[in-house]
């Protein structure tokens, strides 16, 4: 009788209590304790996979090199001409041969470039290593920038992570309506590339007759106005400075109560801005955001202090979002949408309801079926099944796993398959009874005989689940996780647990000898 409190039963009881305790927070949705979080397909939300156009980052790197050359030569009063940014290089011509040592010293200080020189013409290209690091940085910066923007946007629990080599995963559970979603997407997509550019005063009056190639001849760009696409501005291609020198951007209101954005520059930016405005009094300065000219006021005097204003036709919401984008920095490279899945909250709620209903119904069906077919043995298997369900929930909660719709399907399926081990065992026990075994022998030998089949079957299913996890994406991973946890938990509950219960009940079964009641077969035990 010493077997009544056996090690199997103790382990099973502990597992049962463990499962119960750690699944309570998930079942009752308590605030305290680890619990399963619902996937976007169940609670509603936006899932996006973004790609980063890293070539654009290379281009803007070249542009900033050109800007620093321009600032240096202006500052040192070195005469150069034809400063251009071509597809993958920066080029210019030195007019004053005497300044050669000075300019070459400056060029040597720029890191990561290859310098070619042909007479007085200089060509700068990025080294392959520099290209790689610029691209890598662009992705990292995009992740940080998007995370920063979404944090400031005020949505609950945004998740932004790098995925694979060059993709970004964005998950926003808080999105409720398509309008909200669109606004969030626009915020992410905003390049927020602020540039202060000089208007080409010499050729500005010809802008409507020019095409882009002709503008390029002069080292200029034609940019549309923000208020109307029809209005064009002709600006020098190389900007005076850009948003990388920005320290702050805030929404304010001007005299006519229109929203504007006030920005401030860091000390280097302030100096460049001050120097430029000082030298160009009477000329126009274009304030360019994402390749659109927001305003092009005349410079009346030198502007020190390093602050400026972007005005022109924002709505309050827009101004708010632009300010967030500017503060969190420009995207070095634009992002593109590779994959998007958005689920409305009502659909998510429907999915939960439907799959929960299927789970409960399926569960009841299996439970009743087992008792009808196997009698008490079926009931014992059902206890193991309940323990199994609690364990799955508890383990998922402790790992911080997310429950998705396919994950729900995985649990439902596990319920169907978890009783398999008990079916195999019970069949073996019945077989032994038919051969005339005693109760204790039938149970012990039944477990022994069933073991190899159960192990081989579970391991093959586990192999399939693990590979599914490794190669699956998103929701499929959830399915594989719940299946794997379910299989492992069933080994503990269906094999060890039920065996423990039988050992505990053995004296009783031996005394009663009613195999019809205990195992559902018409035969008297020996």
């Amino acid at each position: 009788m010493g077997k009544m409190l056996n090690y199997r039963l103790v382990i099973f009881a502990l597992a049962f209590i463990f499962g119960l305790v750690f699944s309570i927070p998930s079942f009752l949705q308590l605030d305290k304790g680890a619990k399963i979080s619902l996937g976007l397909d169940l609670q509603g939300g936006l899932h996006m996979l973004l790609g980063v156009k890293t070539e654009e980052a290379l281009k803007s790197k070249l542009k900033s090199i050109a800007s620093s050359i321009k600032y240096f030569t202006d500052d040192e009063e070195i005469l150069i001409d034809d400063l251009r940014v071509k597809s993958n290089q920066v080029e210019f011509t030195l007019l004053d041969e005497d300044e050669r040592p000075k300019i070459e010293k400056m060029l040597k200080e720029i890191k990561g470039i290859e310098l070619k020189q042909d007479g007085s013409k200089y060509v700068l290209t990025l080294t392959p290593k520099e290209k790689e690091s610029v691209k890598e940085y662009a992705i990292k910066q995009a992740v940080d920038t998007i995370r920063n923007r979404l944090d400031q946007f005020g949505l609950a629990e945004p998740n932004v992570a790098k995925q694979g080599k060059d993709k970004i995963l964005v998950e926003l559970p808080g999105i409720k309506t398509p309008e909200q979603e669109q606004r969030a997407r626009e915020l992410i997509a905003k390049a927020a590339h602020l540039q202060l550019m000089a208007i080409d005063e010499k050729h500005a009056d010809q802008v409507y007759k020019m095409n882009e190639a002709e503008a390029e001849e002069y080292g200029d760009l034609i940019l549309p106005d923000a208020k109307s696409e029809k209005v064009k501005h002709l600006v020098h291609e190389v900007p005076i400075l850009d948003g990388s020198m920005l320290t702050d951007a805030r929404v304010a209101f001007d005299q006519s109560n229109q929203p504007v954005i006030n920005f401030s520059l860091n000390s280097a930016g302030a100096r460049i801005f001050g120097d430029f405005t000082g030298k160009n009094v009477g000329n126009h300065l274009a304030i360019v955001l994402d390749n659109k000219v927001y305003s092009a006021p005349v410079i009346r005097e030198r502007i020190g202090g390093g602050s400026g204003q972007i005005s022109g036709g924002f709505s309050v919401e827009e101004a708010h979002d632009v300010a967030i984008a500017l503060r969190s920095g420009a995207l070095l490279a634009p992002v593109v949408m590779l994959e998007k899945r958005s689920v409305g909250p009502s659909l998510g709620a429907d999915s939960i309801k439907a799959s929960f209903m299927a789970l409960v119904l399926g569960f009841l069906l299996v439970v009743v079926f087992m008792v009808v077919y196997y009698g008490m043995a079926g009931l014992i298997a059902d206890i193991a099944l309940v323990a199994n369900l609690f364990l799955i929930i508890a383990v998922m909660a402790l790992f911080g796993a997310t429950l998705t719709l396919p994950g729900m399907a995985g649990i439902v399926l596990t319920v169907g398959m978890a009783v398999d081990a008990n079916v195999i065992i019970n069949e073996r026990i019945r077989e032994l009874f038919h051969q005339g075994a005693t109760v204790s022998k039938a149970i012990d030998k039944g477990y022994d005989n069933a073991m190899s089949a159960i192990l081989d079957a579970n391991i093959t299913t586990l192999i399939a689940a693990v590979i599914l996890y490794a190669y699956g994406t998103g929701p499929i991973k959830g399915f594989a996780i719940t299946m794997s946890i379910g299989i492992l938990a069933s080994m503990l509950t269906a094999i060890l647990g039920t065996h423990g219960i039988y050992e505990y009940l053995l004296p009783k079964i031996e005394r009663s000898k009613k195999l019809g009641f205990w195992f559902g077969i018409k035969r008297e035990a020996k």
Binding site: L365, G416, T461, G520
Partner: protein, 323 residues
């Protein structure tokens, strides 16, 4: 309760030709379907956009079609009812790469005149991602077949491994045939269903094979037919019972799990039926065809046991301090 009598042994092998003929018929039909009608790839694998819209009244499909097709971009859009007459799904093959404004927004604008509605789901997969998902899915299938083949060959013998893989290919082909016949959108969830069927089918087959292995070791009969008949009969009750519980559970998923999960659960239903059938009637005859030799296997298993017994003896002697 007992369904199958324990005393009677059913003659499965005697009728194996009939079952093989039925299977060949089904497989050929499936292949014919797969090659002519083909699989209807959903947006996960083909790329494209899906918009699910629910109206607070019956969805005016005709009007919706007219307003959508105003835009040339949506010329080949398909509009179908989804679960209830109030709910529709619009599918088209285009997808946008812009993050700021996308086709979902555009559809919403076009639908404005068709009544009160709620956009419940917008899925968009770019062509590049679709290709990647398809490659990964195929990879997962091939890899798991190889891994399982190795495991079964290691635990049993290579013929058992190969026979179980053949049974698995049988199950997957027929299931895919049904997917093609019914015209289910093949998305990631269908892939998951197929992989589950693979796991399930193997599970079933292995339990029968385990019994055959045991039968060979324990009986003096050298006739493979008899051993198979005996083993399949002995596992018949288990195979039927587990299949029934799983089948009922998946059936509730199919009936009550909601429209989104219907394709998945339908595929599983077919898979469970086919998988159960093949593990009872089809998998074992493959063993015979592959030239399985009972005597040789028995000898090998006996040698294995002998070696293990010797090892055990040595260990006992060692622990007893004899050596």
């Amino acid at each position: 309760m007992e369904i199958f009598k324990s005393s009677k042994i059913y003659d499965f092998m005697g009728k194996s030709k009939i079952f093989i003929a039925i299977s060949v018929l089904f497989i050929l039909t499936s292949f014919a379907l797969l090659f002519t009608k083909g699989l209807h790839y959903g947006i996960d694998f083909a790329g494209g956009t899906l918009v699910q819209v629910r109206y607070d009244h019956k969805a005016p499909i005709k009007e919706i079609r007219e307003s959508i097709k105003k835009d040339k971009m949506f010329k080949n859009a398909s509009i179908t009812e989804f679960g209830s007459p109030n709910e529709i799904v619009i599918r088209f093959s285009t997808s946008s790469s812009s993050v700021g404004v996308d086709v979902g927004d555009k559809v919403r604008g076009l639908l404005k005149s068709t009544g009160q509605f709620e956009v419940r789901r917008v899925d968009m997969v770019g062509p590049k991602v679709g290709n990647e998902l398809r490659e990964k899915g195929l990879m997962a299938m091939v890899l798991s077949i190889i891994a399982i083949l190795i495991y079964v060959a290691f635990r049993f013998e290579w013929r058992f491994g190969l026979a179980s893989i053949l049974a698995l290919i049988h199950d997957v082909s027929i299931s895919l045939g049904f997917v093609s016949l019914v015209g289910i959108d093949v998305n990631l969830d269908i892939l998951a269903a197929i992989l589950t069927i693979m796991g399930y089918s193997l599970n079933d087959t292995i339990i029968v094979f385990d019994r055959i292995r045991e039968g060979i070791k324990e009986t003096k009969v050298m006739n493979l037919f008899e051993i198979i008949n005996d083993s399949v009969t002995k596992t018949l009750s288990r195979t039927t019972l587990t299949s029934l519980t799983t089948f009922f559970v998946v059936l509730t998923l199919y009936l009550f799990g909601g429209e989104i999960i219907r394709g998945f659960s339908f595929t599983l239903l077919v898979g469970i039926i086919v998988g159960t059938y093949s593990s009872i009637f089809i998998a074992s005859p493959f063993l015979k065809w592959l030239g399985f030799d009972v005597a040789k296997f028995k000898q090998k298993e006996l040698e294995k046991e002998k070696r293990e017994r010797e090892k055990e003896k040595m260990r006992q002697m060692y622990e007893g301090g004899v050596v």
